[in-house]
């Protein structure tokens, strides 16, 4: 985070107030706030804005709802699982309720002539 710009620190403050930062990121932000008065002021004003909004909404206590964190790998895994389940379900439904006439090959049902 050494090369982090001021705008990026402001974004980190927003994320921190939303509860989206990991422990390492929160530690880095705390370290920066200890040395950057500008960012510390910005964080304080962000907090004040959130408290004011919460109060205007009838809630005297400001609180933060953490957003569910969805990682790309997890999302891809669930997509693959859903696709596979759909394929298996479709195959089973087609076999069970799809076009009739299944079971065995056509040759099994055809007549034959055998010389004794």
């Amino acid at each position: 985070m050494a090369d982090t710009t001021h705008e990026q620190w402001l974004a980190q403050i927003d994320a921190e107030l939303d509860g989206e930062l990991s422990l390492v990121e929160r530690a880095a932000l705390a370290k920066h706030l200890a040395t950057c008065g500008h960012c510390a002021g910005a964080r304080a004003s962000h907090l004040e804005v959130r408290v004011a909004l919460a109060r205007s909404a009838g809630n005297p206590h400001a609180f933060v709802l953490p957003r569910p964190a969805i990682r790309a790998g997890t999302l891809a895994l669930w997509l693959v699982v859903a696709l596979a389940a759909g394929l298996v379900g479709g195959w089973f439904a087609s076999h069970r309720w799809g076009a009739p006439g299944g079971g065995g090959t056509v040759e099994d049902t055809r007549g034959t002539i055998v010389v004794q």
Binding site: P100, G101, G104, T105, V106, E107, D108, T109, R110, G111, T112, I113, V114, V115, Q116
Partner: protein, 271 residues
């Protein structure tokens, strides 16, 4: 070709038995179809869930004979969403070579495993013998289990046909003019007299056009259909063509003179 096959001398017999498999196999039906050497046999078997129609033809070659079976099968495969039966149709050909008097076993419903149990088979024996002059087909069929829907019939393509011609005008009919016509032979002149007026026509007999449906073609459903071509002397354009089975039913053709020509087709008498 057909004339040679239907000539006196050789007579072909399809002898069949329909057998239901069991510990002691049971004969459901038996019968025989015989006729000229070019006679075919049509076999029909029906159950609640399947229908098999087959036309068997033989080609003799020395001491062996090749049996060709054209099969048309319909199988009940389920019901639609509107609860109507769904049928699966199949058409195929089977061919086997055997010696005269060998026994061929025909499995019309196949030999595969079926939930309703094993299906009946048909035993077929082909025989030929000499029978001078007998060109008419003959059938004999005995159904021993009346709950079964089985049938066999001879399929013979006529070489000649008996045609009876009448002229009709209002409620007056000319005397019948019977004649034996040979298929694909040169046309003949016929004169019909009605109320003292003679009408001269040129008639010839031919086979109908090939069957339009695959089923009719495969099962030779129009084997006994002939077409009578009617024209006037010195006029190229024919007056018309009457096609029909050899079943003694009169078919009509309007003539330019205002009369109507009634033609009745029948099998010729035995020779």
């Amino acid at each position: 070709m057909i004339a040679a096959l239907q000539g006196p001398g050789t007579r072909l017999t399809y002898r069949i038995r329909v057998i239901e498999p069991a510990v002691t196999p049971r004969v459901l039906a038996s019968g025989a179809v015989s006729g000229p050497l070019d006679s075919d046999m049509r076999l029909t078997l029906r159950t609640d869930t399947a229908e098999v129609e087959a036309l068997f033809q033989v080609t003799a070659f020395g001491d062996t004979v090749t049996v060709t079976g054209e099969f048309l099968t319909r199988r009940l495969v389920g019901r639609s969403r509107r609860d109507l039966p769904l049928w699966e149709e199949d058409t195929y050909r089977r061919l086997v070579r055997m010696a005269w008097s060998d026994t061929a076993r025909i499995y019309p419903f196949g030999t595969g495993k079926r939930p309703q149990g094993r299906s009946p088979w048909v035993e077929l024996i082909l025989e030929r013998h000499f029978a001078g002059g007998e060109a008419r087909a003959a059938e004999r069929f005995e159904l021993l289990d009346s709950t079964r829907d089985l049938s066999i019939e001879a399929v013979v393509r006529p070489r000649r046909a008996r045609i009876i011609l009448n002229l009709v005008r209002g409620d007056t009919v000319s005397g019948p003019r019977p004649m034996d016509l040979v298929l694909e032979e040169p046309a003949r002149v016929v004169q019909l007299v009605l109320k003292g007026r003679a009408t001269t026509l040129i008639v010839s007999l031919s086979r109908p056009d090939p069957a339009r449906s695959a089923r009719a073609g495969a099962l030779a459903l129009d084997a006994d259909v002939v077409c009578l071509r009617v024209s006037q002397p010195a006029v190229l354009q024919p007056l018309g063509t009457i096609c029909g089975r050899l079943n003694n039913i009169a078919r009509q053709l309007p003539l330019p003179t205002g009369d109507t020509l009634a033609a009745t087709f029948a099998w010729p008498g035995p020779r």
